[in-house]
């Protein structure tokens, strides 16, 4: 059997492969946002962090020749953005949603500003695992060419889930997120813990950005992210603040994002832009389906401004 005999089976295969490829940044950003939101803050600025992570990761990988140095730099830059968000939001009467919007603009602005010289040069890609080695079909091999960061993300999801469930740190984050008063009564410093959680969440989003520029699509340009960071925030609501559910949600959203390119790859170019809009439509649909007027959402941290 050769590639041409695959026929329409190529579409689900391309969607599966695409789902894995496209979902990784969603996964990282949503894990970061879960950590942040569990502590009682919302960070809409992760869209900007994602773009800045993509730029800084690409730039450092270009300069050093080491893709992993890029990932590290992106994580560092991301945590810096998270730290700024956390500190500004610790001031009384500052709205975390508005701060998120401002950091979204600042992050993208700084990324475009410093990223100009890196649009041309080629950075080394992150290594991929060839999980399709057992098949002779090039399509299968292409679909199962999975980046190392994907299993790393799965591991991180499991670790976060375990952390919230069974560790002291997880408990502290949850207490702070569910009730500022209870946390104060326990002698905790809510603003401090939230700031740390937001900084750590930013690091996750930075890594998600590095994946974009260092693996798929694998180059730095100003259109590298169009709302993935924001969709990941919506995805967290859908996943009910559960890191493991984030994995499933990320794959689902990744599949929606892969639909357009998959259809195009088998020669159905019509409505490219409509398929391109699929993830947004789906995110909106999911938001409408999972939101509820009047009462707080199940599983939502009590101190979260969007669910209060």
């Amino acid at each position: 059997m050769n590639g041409t005999e695959l026929g329409l089976w190529a579409i689900p295969l391309a969607i599966l492969g695409g789902a894995i490829r496209v979902s990784t940044p969603f996964l990282f950003v949503s894990l970061g946002e879960v950590l942040t939101e569990r502590s009682g803050r919302i960070n809409l600025g992760l869209e900007g962090t994602l773009v800045f992570g993509a730029m800084s990761g690409y730039a450092i990988a270009c300069v050093t020749g080491l893709p992993w140095a890029g990932v590290l730099a992106a994580a560092g830059a991301g945590s810096l953005f998270g730290l700024v968000h956390g500190l500004v939001c610790s001031l009384p009467r500052v709205n975390d949603i508005a701060v998120g919007i401002s950091l979204m603009l600042l992050g993208t602005g700084l990324a475009y500003f410093f990223g100009k010289p890196f649009i041309q040069p080629v950075a080394p890609d992150l290594p991929a695992l060839e999980l399709g080695w057992w098949s002779d079909l090039p399509q299968v091999q292409a679909a199962l060419r999975v980046n190392v960061l994907f299993p790393v993300g799965i591991l991180a999801a499991l670790l976060l889930w375990w952390m919230f469930r069974a560790t002291r740190i997880g408990l502290l984050v949850r207490v702070v997120g569910d009730s500022t008063d209870a946390a104060r009564a326990m002698g905790l410093r809510p603003a401090f813990i939230r700031t740390l959680a937001t900084a750590a969440g930013g690091a996750f989003a930075g890594v998600g950005g590095a994946y974009l520029s260092l693996f798929y699509p694998g180059s730095w340009n100003e259109g590298i992210s169009s709302g993935q960071g924001l969709m990941a925030v919506a995805l967290v609501i859908f996943a009910r603040w559960n890191p493991i559910a984030c994995l499933g949600a990320a794959l689902l959203f990744g599949g929606a994002g892969a639909l357009g390119p998959a259809l195009q790859s088998v020669g159905i170019p019509d409505g490219y832009y409509l398929f391109y809009a699929m993830p947004y439509v789906m995110t909106l649909g999911v938001l409408i389906a999972t939101s509820s007027p009047g009462r707080a959402m199940a599983g939502a941290p009590g101190e979260l401004s969007i669910s209060k």
């Binding site: 809409l44 700024v84 500004v88 001031l91 009384p92 009467r93 500052v94 709205n95 949603i97 508005a98 701060v99 919007i101 401002s102 950091l103 603009l105 600042l106 992050g107 993208t108 602005g109 700084l110 990324a111 475009y112 500003f113 100009k116 169009s226 709302g227 924001l230 969709m231 925030v233 919506a234 609501i237 409505g271 490219y272 832009y273 409509l274 391109y276 809009a277 947004y280 439509v281 995110t283 909106l284 938001l287 409408i288 939101s291 509820s292 007027p293 009047g294 969007i306």
Partner: protein
């Protein structure tokens, strides 16, 4: 800012009232300066001269009548886009998807232009504007409806809908509505000459500026001088109290959001009918995002939007000159906006905490 109306009760000291108004001007102005100072530091760290930067901004944005006209042309969409943020904000909604409403307004205008070209301009132009305004109003009104009736977060929903609107425009201008003559940049067919909106007589600035200023004035009257505006402010402060009072909160939320969308849609109509001549990707030029910053800098006061929009339009107008003279990338303006935005939000924490402005300082015991 600068509200000169009554409300001085006999027990108030007029100095205390004055202090409160001074605070409403001084804090945002101080934040703006702090943002510009942070940006200056950023330029210094990069080895560029802030003095040269601001001199160039002044020269290209405000130095001559020519540069003023350039700035004012860019002010028009910014005024209308800022209203799309400021009006829903009265009800506590943070709508950031004005870009989508601009795109849809322009798209409706560009797509219908061909069908209406047989009509005289005096009939067709209002129809085109109505179509654009209607599409955009329904779009942002839907954001308000989702918020009120389904509890969907309006910030995320409005931005998602902006991406959807842009994708819809790309689909339509590359497919069904594409003018075969537009090769490099897919566009709708150009509007016939008599359907174009011209310039203000004697100025090189299109009528959108007048529409924007009138929009701000009308919005100010609506918010500050009508019962609807009063009801909206109550609902924005406390939804439950407003419901107990029997206020139609749902209609207020949808209405104010839709009106915001109407203004943003009007911006799109002017971009097509007065600037580009057809609907294409240029509609998504980022006016919607700058509008967010303007509304926050103006603290959602429609009158304050006017000077703030002129200032930011001046920065955008000078972008080209700054790029060429100082060898800075075009994203420089975005960085400046980002710094200013963070500064204005940080300043929110200062209200009521600066001794100079508190009523106690001016002889009112509390």
């Amino acid at each position: 800012m600068g509200r000169k109306r009554g409300g001085i009760r006999p027990s108030d000291s007029s100095l205390a009232v004055l202090a409160r108004r001074a605070e409403a001007v001084a804090v945002p102005a101080g934040a703006l300066l702090a943002g510009l100072a942070a940006f200056s530091l950023f330029l210094l760290l990069l080895g560029k001269s802030p003095a040269e930067f601001y001199a160039l901004v002044y020269k290209a944005g405000f130095g001559t009548w020519f540069s003023w006209q350039n700035t004012l042309s860019r002010t028009a969409p910014l005024l209308l886009a800022a209203l799309c943020v400021a009006l829903p904000a009265r009800l506590g909604l943070v709508v950031i998807g004005g870009e989508g409403a601009i795109v849809l307004g322009g798209l409706a205008c560009g797509a219908l232009g061909g069908a209406l070209s047989g009509l005289p301009g005096a009939v067709a132009i209002p129809l085109l504007a109505a179509a654009g305004v209607l599409a955009a109003g329904v779009w942002i009104g839907a954001v308000g409806a989702l918020r009120h009736y389904r509890g969907v977060n309006e910030t995320i929903a409005s931005l998602l809908m902006a991406y959807i609107a842009i994708a819809l425009m790309n689909h339509l201008v590359e497919g069904p509505f594409r003018d075969p003559a537009s090769l490099n940049k897919p566009s709708t067919a150009p509007l016939a000459e008599h359907l174009r909106i011209g310039d203000i007589p004697g100025w090189d600035v299109h009528w959108g500026l007048v529409a924007g200023i009138v929009g701000c004035l009308v919005s100010w009257v609506l918010v500050e001088r009508t019962t609807w505006g009063f009801a909206a402010r109550i609902a924005g402060g406390n939804v439950r109290a407003a419901l107990v009072q029997g206020l139609p909160v749902g209609r207020l939320v949808v209405g104010f959001a839709a009106l915001g969308g109407v203004f943003a849609g009007l911006a799109g109509v002017f971009e097509v009918a007065a600037v580009h001549g057809s609907a294409n990707a240029s509609l998504a030029a980022g006016y919607g995002y700058t509008g967010i910053l303007i509304a926050f800098l103006a603290r959602h006061n429609p009158l304050a939007i006017i000077p703030v929009a002129v200032l930011l339009a001046g920065f955008e107008a000078s972008s080209g000159l700054v790029q060429r003279r100082m060898d800075l990338p075009d994203a420089t303006v975005l960085v400046l906006q980002g710094f200013t935005f963070v500064a204005i939000l940080v300043s929110e924490t200062l209200y009521g905490r600066l001794r100079v402005f508190t009523p106690e300082t001016w002889g009112i015991p509390r």
